[in-house]
C-alpha cells in the first residue's frame, strides 16, 4: 500500500496551525532542514487559510489535508468543497485578492509557488478546490544535515 496520511478538519481558523504542524511532523521522516520545514509549514498554512476564508467564506465546511512521501519528495494536497475559483490564472497572479478590504495581501499562491517545488491548482466553480504541492527534501549533503543537527543539540 502507498504510504500516506490524511487529515479531516473543519474550516475553523484554529486548524490553520494544527494542519501545518501535522504536515511538518509527517515530513520529519524525510529529515528536512529547519528551513525546509518552515517552507512546508508556510505553504500549508496558506492553502488551509484559503480554504477557510475563500472556499467556505468563513462558513462551516470540511477540509481534507493529504500528504505522502515518494522517495525524497513530500506531496501535499489541501482540498475543500467550497465555492471554487472562476479564474485560476488570475487568482494565482501575485497581489491579486478578491477580498481587498480584508487586508489580504494576495500573496498566498505566490508563497506556495516559491516555497514549494511544485504547485497545481484544480478548481471547479461551485464544487471546490484542490491544491497539489510538492517539495523535494534531499538537496543537502548528509554531512551538512548532521552539522545542523549537532548545532541544535
Amino acid at each position: 500500500m502507498r504510504e500516506y496520511m490524511q487529515l479531516h478538519i473543519s474550516s475553523d481558523s484554529r486548524n490553520e496551525s494544527f494542519a501545518r504542524v501535522v504536515v511538518a511532523a509527517y515530513a520529519a521522516r524525510l529529515n528536512p532542514t529547519v528551513e525546509e520545514i518552515a517552507d512546508i509549514k508556510t505553504a500549508v498554512s496558506e492553502a488551509v487559510t484559503n480554504a477557510i476564508i475563500h472556499g467556505y467564506e468563513q462558513q462551516p465546511g470540511q477540509i481534507v489535508v493529504e500528504a505522502c512521501i515518494e522517495a525524497d519528495t513530500l506531496r501535499v494536497e489541501v482540498i475543500d468543497y467550497g465555492c471554487g475559483i472562476d479564474d485560476v490564472a488570475r487568482a494565482m497572479e501575485p497581489l491579486y485578492t478578491s477580498k481587498p478590504g480584508g487586508e489580504r495581501s494576495g500573496l498566498g499562491f505566490t508563497v506556495m509557488q516559491s516555497f514549494m517545488d511544485e504547485l497545481e491548482v484544480l478548481s471547479t466553480p461551485g464544487s471546490g478546490t484542490r491544491i497539489k504541492m510538492a517539495k523535494r527534501v534531499a538537496a543537502r549533503q548528509t554531512a551538512e544535515r548532521e552539522d545542523e543537527q549537532e548545532q541544535l543539540r
Binding site: 490553520e16 496551525s17 528551513e35 518552515a38 496558506e46 487586508e103 495581501s105 500573496l107 508563497v111
Partner: protein, 101 residues
C-alpha cells in the same frame, strides 16, 4: 499577545508567537488601538519573538504601513529571524519599511 513602548516620537510594538489568519484579527485590532492612542512619527514593529508568519502577517504590516503613511509617518520592522525574515524579504516588506537589526 503584544507589548508596547513609547519613546518620544517612536512607538515600539513588540509582537510574539505565531501570526496567521487565526491570530491576525486580534493583533491588528490591538495595534490599531495603540496607533490611534499614540500618534507618533515612527512605528517600529518588533517581530523578534514571532516564531511563524504567513501572508496574513504580511497583510497586517502592509495595512499598518498604509496607516502610518497616511499620517505622514513611517514604519520600521525590527528583529526578524529565520522563517519570518525570509517571508518579509520575499514579500518585499523591506522595500517599503526600513529594516532594523
Amino acid at each position: 499577545m503584544l507589548t508596547h513602548m513609547r519613546q518620544g516620537k517612536r512607538l515600539v510594538i513588540k509582537l510574539q508567537g505565531e501570526i496567521d489568519h487565526h491570530t491576525a484579527a486580534a493583533i491588528r485590532d490591538e495595534m490599531d488601538t495603540l496607533i490611534w492612542r499614540y500618534p507618533v512619527e515612527t512605528l517600529i514593529v518588533d517581530v523578534g519573538n514571532v516564531t511563524f508568519m504567513d501572508s496574513s502577517g504580511i497583510g497586517i504590516l502592509i495595512g499598518r504601513y498604509r496607516i502610518m503613511s497616511r499620517m505622514g509617518g513611517t514604519l520600521r520592522v525590527r528583529g526578524a529571524r529565520d522563517q519570518v525574515d525570509r517571508i518579509l524579504e520575499f514579500a518585499g516588506i523591506y522595500k517599503i519599511c526600513q529594516k532594523e537589526a
